[in-house]
Amino acid sequence: MQSIEQNNEQWSPRIVAFFCNWCTYTASDLAGVSRLRYAPSTRVIRVMCSGRIEPTFILEAFIKGADGVLIGGCHPGDCHYSEGNYKCLRRFHLLQRYIVEMGIEKERLRLEWISASEGKRLQEVVNEMTDTLRQLGPSKIKEVAETIVK
């Protein structure tokens, strides 16, 4: 349990992860049963399709204190509902442009296509994102949204 001990010593980022039921959620399950060790920074929310993820869900996660939001869906062409992941991809790009305009680092929002068999990839993505966020430091989004400066 070395990684958890290490994390206790320093601030650890909180990632809200929206994973699609058919691919990325299953991949995280696979990573679990394969005993792949990765940073305990994600709080996974299972959605039926990445196309279900509204930009508002992501904004809500940020203002509730998430340091980063990770979206995981099926590879293009593999969506269980045929085109949900394309809708997700379009929203992601638009939302990312919006958050950058709002002064939020674009690395705090990440989209990855991870299929059900890619437990290893899930491990890599979560570790990578955790490192990136650790470099960026804690998110101030919640604080800024709650504080009114007179």
Binding site: P55, T56, L59, E60, L89, L94, K140, I141, V144, I148
Partner: protein, 324 residues
């Protein structure tokens, strides 16, 4: 209404606003006589010379209806919001600015320091070599003069005081105001506190007569001057960003009737918690492309997403202001 029945007392106040909401009250034309028949206007800075101290001396809850338009931008706005809340039975956030922050709310992309620097030092028409800025207090022979304190953030009315109802619009349609007013006069049962009144619970597109198809397949977006609108097809389908799909109806889709896209001044429908978020979801879903590069290119054509999707609602949105 019998003559013996006491007249209502009504107040209209402007916070950080352009004056359009107050003028929209005058736009009810001769119906104003009906209003005056039922209500005494006790405070209305655009039209009456009532002093703040007169309002401060009124007994609590003595004003029946207050229409508060404009956002809360400085200490004067906040003070009057608190005074009017205390004196009024019904406080109505009148217009987009009081409702969601409105156009003045776009100042939340900046801060006090940057605004003052731009206005008093850098703007093209400014000649101010000594970089003089307004002072909040100045001593003169007759005594001390005061200016309100300019806040760093713009606030919606309900971020400062408790609000009973919201009457949206930039400005609200005058007919809707008359409807709401008469409902109060006639003692019609009022909707639950916090409701949006004087607007529809359906989306703009519901009232819009333009031809719409199921599949949008938009390749890219244009700014209105870049294309010639055919006058019949849904503006979004022609690639002209129209915020109708997330905006509450009730204005009679006036902008679209005038061949201009809806900009969302009536605010979100009841079940939408973040107007711009919903709109981004709608707009992005209408695009056609599937390749990442193609999608990125199409999204690039949405110039200034934050300013476009939150044109009237930045202070009332989830993120509320830019992180500086």
């Amino acid at each position: 209404m019998g003559k013996d029945k006491a007249k209502l007392k009504m107040a209209i106040y402007w916070g950080a606003a352009c004056g359009g909401c107050c003028v929209s009250v005058l736009d009810i034309h001769e119906t104003l006589f009906t209003v005056i028949e039922h209500a005494d206007l006790v405070f209305w800075p655009i039209a009456l010379d009532t002093k703040y101290s007169d309002v401060e001396e009124m007994p609590d809850q003595s004003i029946d209806i207050t229409l508060f338009n404009g956002a809360v931008r400085n200490s004067e706005n906040e003070h009057m919001a608190r005074v009017l809340r205390q004196k009024s039975r019904l406080l109505i956030a009148y217009g987009s600015c009081a409702h969601m922050g409105g156009i003045p709310g776009l100042a939340n992309f900046s801060n006090k320091e940057a605004i003052f620097r731009r206005v008093y030092e850098e703007s093209e028409s400014t000649v101010n070599p000594d970089k003089i800025r307004p002072l909040e207090e100045v001593m003169v022979a007759e005594g001390t003069l005061h200016l309100p304190h300019f806040y760093n953030d713009v606030m919606t009315l309900d971020q400062v005081v408790d609000v009973d109802y919201y009457l949206p619009g930039c400005p609200p349609q005058s007919e809707r105001l008359v409807e709401v007013f008469l409902a109060v006069v006639n003692g019609t049962e009022l909707p639950p506190k916090g409701s949006v009144v004087g607007a529809s619970s359906l989306v703009q597109c519901d009232e819009c007569k333009r031809k719409k198809s199921e599949k949008k397949d938009i390749k890219r977006f244009y700014r209105p001057w870049e294309v010639v609108d055919d006058g019949e097809t849904c503006l979004n389908e022609q690639g002209i960003l129209c915020l109708g799909p997330a905006t509450r109806g009730g204005c009679g889709v006036r902008c679209v009737v005038g061949n201009a896209p809806c900009r969302g001044c009536y605010g979100p429908l009841d079940d939408i918690s973040d107007f711009g978020g919903k709109m981004m979801s709608v707009i992005a879903s209408m695009l056609e492309g599937k390749e990442e590069a193609e999608i990125e290119e199409a999204i690039e054509t949405v110039v200034d997403p934050a300013g476009t999707f939150y044109r009237y609602s930045l202070p009332g949105s989830k993120l509320r202001r830019k992180q500086l």
